[in-house]
Every structure is written in C-alpha cells, then in structure tokens.
C-alpha cells in the first residue's frame, strides 16, 4: 500500500525492545504491530491557537523572581520535514533538569539541589519558516538506576507535533562531545551512528551572544509526506 508518510522513515528510531535499557523489557509489545492505511484520522493533527504559547514561555530563565543558577544557553533551530522544508506554526515543548542535574519532578530524589528559580519547562511555536528558539540553562548530567554507575549524558527533552498525529515526535537533545555517550543505553538504543548524531546539537558560535550566552543549534526532522497532495473525501 502507498502511504502518505512512508514507513521507511521509521527505521531511524530505536527498537522498542532495547534490553540494555532495562525498563523496555516489560514495556515493549511482543506481538507484531499491525500495519494499517493512513486515514484522515492519522493524517490530521491538532492545531494550536495563540493561547497555547504565551509570550515568554520560550525563556526558562525568567519564570521566577530571580535568575536560575548555571550556564545560560540559547537553543535554537528549525523543525523540518524529511525534504528539508520548515514545519511552520508547530508546537515545540521542552523539559529538562537544572544545572545540577536535578529535575523538579517529585520522584527525582537525586541528592543535588533544586533551584527555586528554575522549573525546567518551556514551550515555543515555530515561525513561518519552522524556526524556534529557547533560552535556558545547560542541564547537568545525573545518575540513574539502570545499572551500576549509570549516568545520563546532559540532555533536553523535546516534544514536537508536526503536520499530523503520525508525525508526532518525542526525543532528547544532547550536547556535543559528551564523555558519557558511549555508556548511555538510551542514547545508544539508536543503533545507527548517523541517526544518533542527529540527536546531538551543534555548538553555534555565530549565534552565541557575547558577554551573555553560548548558543547551540538543534534541527528536528519529522516524518515527511510524499509529494501527493492529500485528498479530502467528502
């Protein structure tokens, strides 16, 4: 069958069962997924109004009375489809640990300090060219219980919508040159080296703001549509 969003694109994703990441063992289906046609239900997706993203939601450093501790950074880039076309007006959500590697989430009891001036959540809508921009704090690495001496490389969680419910993506953005890469089973669940590299932001000196903040560029590529225009059956 011909699909508007080709399934071949999905080969970049990690296998759902990746035993080195232990929690996948009981949370991945064992029966084969059933292929279906992409109907209007799959080919449409939510549209957001201006009420979804408020004026300062993209700046995680001004959400509280004082400034958060840590290294201020700019994270920006384009949301693109596989043909390199910008995805306009789409919602980009992010969440992350603070500079000490601690999440504000109540379940995170890692003995590192919380920062009263940092929640770690942000939101932006891409412009007409697919561009988004956040101001935040560089997150710290943190330990987790997957195996002995397990540490997550510093990362920022991203959630992106795109053109349809099947272009939905949740991923993690990493920082270049992290020494923890070889030891992280979540990063390495993506088996293809080139695909893994697409999760790593690049240092962006050109857009670094002197005396203020380093900049990282992270382009997010979503599933693309075939050129065939979508039919709208009555």
């Amino acid at each position: 069958m011909t699909l508007l969003y080709p399934l071949q694109s999905l080969a970049a994703h990690p296998p759902r069962l990746s035993p080195a990441y232990r929690s996948t063992v009981k949370r991945s289906p064992q029966k084969p997924l059933i292929p279906i046609r992409q109907t209007l239900s799959e080919l449409t997706g939510p549209v957001y109004g201006h009420e979804t993203v408020r004026e300062h939601d993209h700046d995680l450093t001004i959400q509280h009375k004082g400034e958060p501790l840590g290294e201020r950074i700019i994270v920006h880039g384009h949301v693109l489809d596989e043909d390199g076309r910008g995805v306009p007006n789409t919602l980009v959500e992010l969440w992350q640990a603070n500079a000490c590697g601690r999440y504000v989430h109540v379940v995170d009891q890692h003995p590192a300090p919380l920062d009263p001036n940092f929640t770690g959540a942000g939101r932006a809508q891409t412009d007409a060219s697919g561009y988004y921009r956040f101001v935040t704090i560089k997150p710290g690495a943190y330990p987790w219980g997957n195996h002995h001496n397990a540490w997550r490389p510093a990362h920022i969680h991203f959630s992106v919508f795109g053109h349809s419910f099947v272009s939905r993506l949740v991923t993690q953005m990493y920082f270049p040159g992290d020494p923890l890469f070889p030891f992280d089973p979540i990063f390495n669940s993506v088996t293809d080296e080139k695909a893994r590299a697409r999760m790593i932001s690049s240092f962006d000196l050109e857009n670094t703001q002197p005396e203020w903040a380093l900049c990282y560029r992270f382009n997010i590529v979503l599933r693309g549509r075939n050129a065939t225009p979508m039919e709208n059956k009555q």
């Binding site: 009981k26 239900s41 408020r54 419910f165």
Partner: protein
C-alpha cells in the same frame, strides 16, 4: 534557509520518568497545561462521554508514569484541522487531549463520542479515537485506537477487519452499566497475554 536535505528523521527517545511537570503538570507544578484530559468545549455538539482505564506492563503491573494522547473527530466525523477540507474553522472543539496516568496507572478522558470518518476509499470507519502511548521504558510511542462496544459499525470497520478476531476486544471500550453519564472502560496492556493491538502507521 541554508539547510540541506536531511539524511533522515530525528530518532525518538523516551519521555522518561520526569515529563509530568513539563507536559502534564495538572496544577502540581509551577507550569501551565497546554492540553488537558477534558476535551469538552461549551459549543460542542454530540454525546458527552468519559473514557477511562488502566495502563499495565508485561507483568500486569500498573504503569504510573505513562502519558496518553488522544486525537479524534467531532460528532460529525470532522477534524479540527484545515487539512480536513470538511473542518469547521470556527469550532472550539480541538479533538486533542493529553493525560498522565495516576499512581495506580489510571487515566480518564472526558470528551464526546466521535462521528464516522471516511477511510481513503470513502468508506465510513466505525467511530474511533486515536491513542498514542508514551512512558518511561518506551523509546518510541505506540499508536492504537479506541472503538466503542455499542457501535454496530464495528462489524464493517476496515481497520478492525485487519485485526485477528480474538484480539479485537483490546481495542473496544466497554460501556459501563449503570453510570449516570455515558462512560466506557478500556485498559491498555503494553505486553503480555492481553497485549493491546498496536498499529504500524
């Protein structure tokens, strides 16, 4: 834009255990919800329903750190998206909802019963809601559908027809007897004997 054609899509990674304060804060964190589990808007027409259930892992243990998202048509089978040429641009019903499971793995959505949406051949599908499942331990979300056990159209639904008969019940929410307002129950099993049917789409 200076970008070249990308070599491929950005791979998926898990939402992890700590998404709640960013994606489903629900008043518990200093952040606002972009989306909630209540899709009902004042102007919406159609039957108001509740869909609820529990998410279980392969050991039958409830999953308390799961996020569910739903996407559905309105009662006339139209999507709130200009890509659906039949959409009503002024409707405030968005058709999208999101919830994090509670400490017992439970979830609830308040919405309206969707109408019938055509398949690519123009044949009506039975009323259904799309469901995407995310959790710690899931590197890539899963897609499934919620159907309703009081819909005669299930018998001729082209997607249900692709599912082995003995597994179709994992997709069909059961109407609760005696509930004051219409409510349906559907549990999600990520793995195991009762494993939910997930779709490759």
């Amino acid at each position: 834009m200076s970008e070249q054609r990308p070599e491929g899509i950005t791979p998926s990674q898990t939402v992890g255990p700590y998404f709640k304060y960013g994606l489903t804060p629900n008043g518990e964190y200093a952040w606002n919800d972009a989306f909630t589990n209540n899709l009902i808007t004042p102007d919406v027409s159609g039957e108001r329903i509740r869909v609820e259930g529990t998410v279980f892992d392969g050991d039958g243990v409830p999953v308390p750190d799961c996020m569910l998202e739903i996407w559905q048509a309105d009662a006339q089978g139209r999507f709130s998206d200009p890509q659906d040429a039949r959409a009503l641009p002024n409707s405030s019903f968005k058709g999208f909802g999101r919830v994090g499971t509670d400490a017992k793995g439970g979830y609830v959505f308040d919405t309206i019963k969707p109408g019938q949406v055509p398949d690519p051949d123009g044949k009506p599908q039975a009323p259904h809601i799309l469901l995407a499942v995310y959790a710690r331990g899931m590197l890539l979300h899963l897609y499934t559908r919620i159907y309703f056990d009081d819909e005669a159209a299930n018998a001729s639904d082209p997607v249900l027809a692709l599912v082995p008969e003995e597994r179709r019940t994992t997709l069909i929410a059961k109407r609760k007897a005696g509930a004051a307002n219409p409510a349906y129950t559907l549990d999600i099993h990520l793995q195991g004997d009762n494993e939910t049917v997930f779709f490759e789409v």
